[in-house]
């Protein structure tokens, strides 16, 4: 299967945005981690992908396949790689203002109120204080936290903390929102709610979103396209377009098109490493 899939992963293959110029372009991206005793681990091997303006793209794959490495490179947290990565046409080597990141843990500063946490990037980047404050208020109400501005992270639930983290990632108005299993630490019910809200936030803010997840259902529910990764070395084996109308509700789970897409991705992943995946729902 690899020969066919490798061809699909090349530029010009299926791995193209549906419309517009690519906002994120990744060409021949490889990453090798040096290990102890001089060994080297090939984490990523010749990754190619393009993400268009306003697109919602997910990357799914088994644990340890290198999906987080892809995100950390896009976030500017890993600067030594081979290949080309560009955001908004600019080659990326290090942090970029065009990018906002939400991690698996909210990583809020416990000594700052929700509002002050959202304002943290504005302080780092030296944005106009008054405008940033107004925008932070808007973002907090967009993520459904109006009235919680003065609460400390310790007084918020896990879902609320992650909402603050999303608002914080958007405060400097980046072109791209990167999400690294943002709801992985939440319980299933909260996770469903957060996914519905994330879809709404992505639609309202018109941001380009790149989501890392190991939940196939989550990826299909949210995305325009799903990139399927396999491990050792990490590479993209298939790109699955999701042709489901928007806005999508949670009842889409019983839709046949949804089920067929989920099944297709599951088969792709099971052929690779069946045991690395949770069996139901995710």
């Amino acid at each position: 299967m690899t020969a066919i899939d490798d061809r699909r992963a090349q530029p010009g293959g299926l791995n193209q945005p549906r419309d517009g110029t690519p906002l994120i372009a990744v060409r021949e991206l490889s990453k090798v981690y040096p290990m102890a005793k001089g060994e080297r681990v090939q984490a990523l091997s010749r990754i190619n992908m393009e993400i268009g303006q306003g697109e919602f793209v997910s990357l799914v794959g088994p644990s340890g396949c290198g999906k987080t490495t892809v995100l950390r490179i896009l976030a500017g947290l890993i600067a030594d790689y081979t290949g080309d990565v560009s955001v908004s046409g600019k080659s990326l080597h290090g942090p970029s203002r065009e990018v906002g990141v939400v991690f698996q843990d909210a990583n809020l500063m416990p000594w700052r109120t929700a509002l002050a946490n959202v304002l943290l990037p504005a302080e780092v980047l030296g944005l106009n204080r008054k405008q940033a404050r107004a925008r932070a208020q808007e973002l907090l109400s967009m993520v459904g936290l109006e009235g919680f501005e003065r609460k400390l992270p310790g007084e918020l639930s896990g879902g609320m903390r992650q909402r603050v983290a999303i608002a914080r990632a958007l405060i400097h108005d980046p072109a791209v929102l990167l999400l690294d299993e943002p709801f992985g630490a939440l319980d299933a019910m909260t996770r469903d709610t957060m996914n519905v809200e994330l879809a709404a936030i992505a639609a309202r803010s018109k941001k380009t979103v790149f989501l890392i997840t190991h939940s196939i259902a989550e990826a299909v529910f949210l995305s325009d396209r799903v990139l399927v990764m396999s491990s050792r070395p990490g590479r993209i084996v298939e790109v699955i377009p999701v042709q489901l109308p928007r806005p999508r509700g949670l009842d889409i789970i019983v839709d046949l098109g949804f089920a067929a897409t989920v099944l297709r991705i599951r088969r792709l992943l099971d052929g690779d490493t069946a045991s690395a995946l949770p069996s139901i729902a995710h």
């Binding site: 500017g76 942090p95 990141v101 990583n107 000594w111 980047l125 914080r168």
Partner: protein
């Protein structure tokens, strides 16, 4: 319901709340109070009728009298002021140096590798042994005591600062790093606040150590201070007086400790009371 009735209700409720608070307070305080009273009572009885040597263990009443006398004559406040001043200046120096050098060590690996063996050697040495030398260097005035107090209190602050700066959650650092924050920004916005619970546990130890340093310095050579008063009273075999000064020092130490705890609660409102490593 009439306004009067509501007023009655709230008065009744307030009375109940007060009563409950008083009961809680009593529940917390009675064991130590009872124990203290028992020990003091037994001690007093032993001194009066049990034939305790007043040179060894003078009666609590006598100690209390000395205490009162010392304050009435203005002698204790004057010397207490000197000791406290020395301790507080030393405290300030220990905190600034401990946090500053700790920050430098955790920021620059070369500094850590260079200083580490010397710091370990200096820490292993009993700082009190330097007292005579420090008196020779800095004289009989307050500065020799300040230096001793600072030298002893410096290490707990340094060690807790290094530990705290190291313990910063990597996820919090990632948040700033992916914004391209400068090292100074990372330190100010994440590392230092994250380390504060640790630093405070060091400061809690330091506040007791500075009193120790000041008193030892005064023992070795000083013109004024509670340490000199203890030495003088001891030479005159005024044991009750020595005890009264010890009681004063214990009270002083406790007040300083509570001061640090209160400051901690103000600054670390976001951290639980047990955050950071346990105080040594």
């Amino acid at each position: 319901m009439s306004r009067e009735a509501r007023g009655m209700m709230s008065r009744e409720a307030r009375r109940l709340r007060l009563k409950r608070a008083a009961r809680r307070c009593f529940a917390a305080l009675w064991p130590p109070l009872a124990f203290g009273a028992l020990v003091l009572g037994g001690w007093e009885a032993g001194a009066r009728w049990g034939g305790l040597d007043p040179m060894m263990l003078p009666a609590p009443s006598e100690i209390a009298e000395q205490f009162q006398l010392g304050f009435a004559s203005g002698l204790y406040p004057q010397h207490l002021g000197v000791t406290l001043l020395q301790a507080m200046i030393g405290f300030g120096i220990a905190i600034c140096a401990g946090v500053g050098i700790g920050a430098l060590i955790s920021a620059v690996p070369l500094v850590e590798r260079t200083l580490n063996p010397f710091l370990i050697a200096f820490e292993a040495m009993p700082k009190i042994a330097m007292a005579p030398l420090v008196i020779v260097w800095f004289g009989y005035g307050i500065w020799s005591k300040v230096v001793l107090a600072a030298a002893i209190a410096f290490f707990p602050v340094l060690v807790s600062t290094i530990l705290g700066l190291r313990a910063c959650e990597p996820g919090r650092l990632d948040v700033l790093r992916c914004l391209g924050a400068s090292r100074a920004q990372v330190f100010r916005l994440v590392r230092l606040p994250s380390a504060l619970p640790f630093i405070f546990s060091g400061i809690n130890v330091a506040v007791v150590f500075v009193l120790l340093g000041a008193i030892v310095g005064e023992f070795v050579g000083a013109k004024a201070g509670l340490g000199t008063l203890i030495l003088a009273a001891n030479e005159n075999l005024e044991t009750a007086r020595v005890f009264s000064i010890l009681a004063l020092l214990a009270g002083m130490g406790m007040l300083l400790h509570f001061g640090v705890t209160a400051l901690r609660q103000r600054l670390l409102f976001w951290a639980g009371p047990q955050a950071g490593p346990p105080t040594a």
